[in-house]
Structures are given as structure tokens and as C-alpha cells.
Symmetry: C2
Subunit: 295 residues, 2 copies
DNA sequence: TAAAAATACTCCATAGGTATTTTAT
DNA sequence: ATAAAATACCTATGGAGTATTTTTA
């Protein structure tokens, strides 16, 4: 009954005053203003039903009850605060991807997030469409292309041109570029987990021929290199995967490919949302900076 | 940093769920609704940055971090709650009076207050104008008549007719009543601490003659009994102090005497305000009940 | 007179509630 | 189909701030 409504900030405030014996300094120490701390102490006294501090404008002193409380709290509060700090083992957020992990800004995102939240970010590569999300092996994932949005919270980070990867010694190897309209008529190498070329969604008559079906990016790249078919991928990923046997051709008229950050709608990691919004912020700043650089 | 904003109600909620392994029951146990508890758990997880409970609509289970937290909290929280309960020694409010403590309703007030707040009320008689308030020997006081309102928080509980106490074998002993206009012309016995007859406030020409100046009620009553002068007092107090040598006479035209409850404006007992408002409530109910009885 | 606590107010974050939806067996 | 947790929305307590007043050595 009487304890009702007492909260930790009241106790932190009291302990601070009990240590400083001075409201203004005690308030500063815990980043409060003096009037707020004064009121919190009064509330604590009202709710406990006991005066804890004898005070006037010149002096602050503990009452008997206050001294007893300080003694108890100086033991209990630090332990409690400690218990609320998850161990380094526990404070981990696993960021999944299956291919095409972008350069530069994710590193800044991860270190910024770790600094701001104290939660470590572990990078996890899984060769699945959801990069470990569905099996609970990742908490958040970076995924190129279309994502089933039913059970997932999805945020689009950016969009990129797609390019075609072709074997240098294939018929297409000599070409300088392709047009999107040609694509359905060509043989394709497909990464089943990519989310890039979801051919099922294409009009049935125009569906490209799948000449090679792979289960991860590296297999797929080699399939392209060995001339089994062309592959589609985002421009920046192509840049990071130069291959002696592969040429990357611009595809005029091709739709842009989105990069998504994805997390489970329910039962997910409590900091997933924070990472996603921070990712948007970081990307906005990156875009702004690059804009400035261009000017 | 991460601990910011975690409060006791979050932890109480978590502990309740960890014990029940069932949100709805856990919510009932701590007198919350299930959605509120759900949100509080989510907030706790967000602020700690760690998932504590794996849950869906059918199952609730502790994560590793949750199990550790439960272990810590099941030790710390009960001790903390205990520390917030003042001991019986400390949870005391001293109610001062110097004379004329009323019958019936104060007893109900005191027991009601003790039951509702867990704070014991000790009755303290001190023969001073403020009945121990000024020396810090009482936290709240019941005082008849005028009270210096500068440093005190004052509430008027009721007003009563005043009557005159006269020695039966004095000249006034045979009278059936007095008129207020006669009072200045008569000899008075005065209790210096009473607050009743503050003669200093009377127009200087009409100030009654102080034939006997006493320092407490009992001396004063005997002074009246021995015929040193008349005394003024509230009707109900007269009723409780029948004296073989004293007659009580109505005084027509006399102003009513207020009964006040008084507490220091600053530095007072944190529950003083609660007692005062409860006193007003109790008296309102008493008045209502007596009103009904009359009808 | 000056330092410090208390008051008076404004604002807003969030705890708490009710009604409804989603989910898993 | 049903039990149970999650979501959506609303209300209002009270915590935090700024400006001012009061107090006491």
C-alpha cells in the first residue's frame, strides 16, 4: 500500500542527495534540475510516509529513517543497476545477409549502433532467402530485392541500378550493353535465394529460361563465369566482385533493385527497430554528404 | 545509458510473468491488465536491449538473459520493497493538543488513518499555544480558536458555540446566561496557551480584566472553580468537564469558536496533509450522519 | 545579502485502460 | 474454435523543465 508508486528514479535521487547532502549538487550529478529533485524527494517521503531528510535552505541532514534507507539502498541499488546491464554475451544483435553486403556505410552503422546502445552487432551469412531470419539465426537481415512482407517488418534503404553479368567468352561477352526487353529471351543463371530475379512474378509467356539454379552467390557467379547464362545483380555488388571471366553490362530500361532491412514482425530482437531507424539516418547522412561532395 | 528509463513497475511486472509464465495471470496478480503488462515487458526489453521472454500465444519461456534477470530480481526486489517499508518505530505521526481534545470522531479518524496508511498516530499533550508543533514535539495539532497562520498550514474542522464557566458560589453562579456585551466588564480567568480569548485583539478600551493567568487547562479550570473569574470555552469541552463547583452558562451573541487542524508549512511530516484531508472527510461524514439522525 | 531549497506553473512522455486483432494449437 | 498475446487508440497521471519566491545564516 504505502510503497505504491515509488520508482527507481526516486531512489536514485534520494541516494544522490544522501551522498552529496546538497540538493543542487545532487541534482546535477544525476542530470536533473534542483526543483525536480526536490519534488521527487517529497514524493518519496509522502509515499513512504516518513520524513527522510531534515532540510532547510542552509542544511541537509538525514533523519533516522533516511539513514536506514541510505544504508539499504547503497547496497541494493548498485546491484540492481548491475543486474539491468545485460552481459556482453547477451547484448548481441545478429545482422544476417546472404550476398552482396554493402561497403562503407554498414560498418559505420554497426560501430555507431554499438557505441550508442552498448549492443554488439554480429554479422551472419546464411545462404537462405531470409539470411537466417526464419530459423532464428539472425535478428535483422540486409536483403536485396523483393521480400515477403507478411511476417516481416521491412524498410527500404536504397535502390540501385541492376547490371547483367555475362561470361566474357560467351556470345554476350562482346556486347557493350543490353536492353531489358532482351532479358526474357536469354538463358539465366539464378541464385535460388537471391530475391533478385523472382521469375514467378513475371508474365508466364515471358519467363526467362533458367539454365542454372544455384543455392548461393559464389556458385551462381561461377555458373555465370562458365557461360551457363547471364546473371542480374546490383551495380555496387558487381563492382566488388570483379571476375576474370565475367563482364558486367549495363541493362537499359531495367527496374531498380531495392536493398531492404528486414526483421520479424513479432518475437524479434528488441533493438531491431532501433537498428533499422538508425540505418535510415546513416543512409540519409551518407546521401547528403555525397550530394555535397558532388557540388 | 541502456538502463535509462527502467523503473520498478517494469521489474515487478517481469518478475510476475517469470513466476506465472502467463501474461494474463501475471497481470491480474499485480493488478494490471494484460495489454499494459505486455507493453511494459516490451519496454523493459527495449531498454535493456535484450529479449527476456520467448513468447507466443501458446507458450511463455525465459531466455538466458531472462533467467539470469529473474534470479537477480527474485533476491533484490523483495529486499528493496522491504527497505521501502518504514519500520513501526519510524511510521509514527504525533498529533498534538493542549486541551479540549474532542470525543468520538478523532478516534475514528486515527484508526482509519492507521489502517489506510500503516502509520501509527500518537497523541501528545503539550501545554503550549501550538501544542508541541513549534518545538517539533508534534507533527500535527488540534487547536481551538485563533492560530497564527504565517508558518502554519491551517484547516478549520468545525465551529462551536462558546459558553462561560463560572463558579457556582460566585455572583454569576445564580445566573442562567450571559450576553456577549457583558463579557468585557467581567473578571476573567485566562489560559495563556488556549488561543480562545486572545484579548490583545479586542479594542483596547473594552479589554476584559485578567484576574487569573494560567498555563494549562486544569489550572485554569480550578481558577474558575475558586471564583477568580469567568472562563470561556467551547460547548462540547464544557460538557466533558463537569465540575462540582462550576456552572456553564450560555453566552448569547458570542462569536463561534473554530477548531483547527494545524501543521507546519515547511519541513513538516509528509503525511500531515493526508491526515488533514482525511479529517475533513471524516467530519463531513459525521455531519451528514448526524443530519440524517435528526431527520 | 546571498546561497539554496521550496513553490508555481507549463509541457509532454508514458503508464494505464478498453476494444480489437492476430496467432497457434 | 479458442485461449492468449499483440496491437491500436485514448486518457490522464506525474515527472521534467523554467521562472520565481521564500528562507536562514
Amino acid at each position: 500500500m504505502s510503497v505504491m508508486g515509488i520508482e527507481l528514479h526516486h531512489l536514485r535521487g534520494f541516494l544522490s542527495v544522501a551522498e552529496e547532502m546538497h540538493f543542487t549538487r545532487a541534482a546535477e550529478k544525476i542530470h536533473l534540475t534542483q526543483p525536480t529533485l526536490s519534488r521527487n524527494i517529497r514524493k518519496l517521503e509522502e509515499r513512504m510516509g516518513v520524513r527522510l531528510l531534515d532540510r532547510n535552505t542552509r542544511f541537509v541532514a538525514l533523519t533516522a529513517a533516511g539513514a536506514r534507507l541510505q544504508q539499504e539502498l547503497s547496497f541494493l541499488l548498485p546491484r540492481l543497476e548491475e543486474a539491468l546491464h545485460p552481459s556482453a554475451e547477451e547484448a548481441v544483435l545478429r545482422l544476417g545477409f546472404s550476398w552482396g553486403f554493402p561497403a562503407h556505410w554498414p560498418q559505420r552503422l554497426m560501430s555507431g549502433f554499438e557505441e550508442e546502445t552498448g549492443t554488439r552487432v554480429d554479422l551472419v551469412r546464411r545462404d537462405e532467402k531470409l539470411a537466417g531470419l526464419s530459423r532464428g539465426e539472425a535478428d535483422v537481415a540486409l536483403l536485396w530485392g523483393a521480400v515477403d512482407t507478411r511476417d516481416m517488418h521491412v524498410v527500404t534503404l536504397l535502390e540501385e541500378r541492376q547490371v547483367a553479368a555475362v561470361a566474357k567468352d560467351s556470345e554476350l561477352g562482346a556486347r557493350r550493353g543490353l536492353h531489358w526487353a532482351e532479358v526474357p529471351g536469354l538463358d539465366h543463371a539464378v541464385n535460388a535465394h537471391s530475391g533478385m530475379a523472382d521469375f514467378a512474378q513475371w508474365p508466364s509467356g515471358e519467363r526467362p529460361n533458367v539454365a542454372a539454379l544455384c543455392t548461393n552467390f559464389d556458385e551462381w557467379l561461377e555458373a555465370v563465369a562458365s557461360g551457363r547464362g547471364l546473371g542480374l545483380l546490383p551495380e555496387s555488388v558487381a563492382e566488388r566482385h570483379a571476375h576474370p571471366s565475367i563482364s558486367f553490362l549495363p541493362v537499359t530500361g531495367a527496374p531498380a533493385v531495392p536493398l531492404h532491412m528486414v526483421a520479424p514482425r513479432q518475437g524479434g530482437h528488441p533493438m531491431a527497430g532501433k537498428l533499422m531507424s538508425m540505418a535510415l539516418r546513416v543512409l540519409a547522412r551518407t546521401a547528403a554528404t555525397e550530394g555535397e561532395r558532388r557540388c
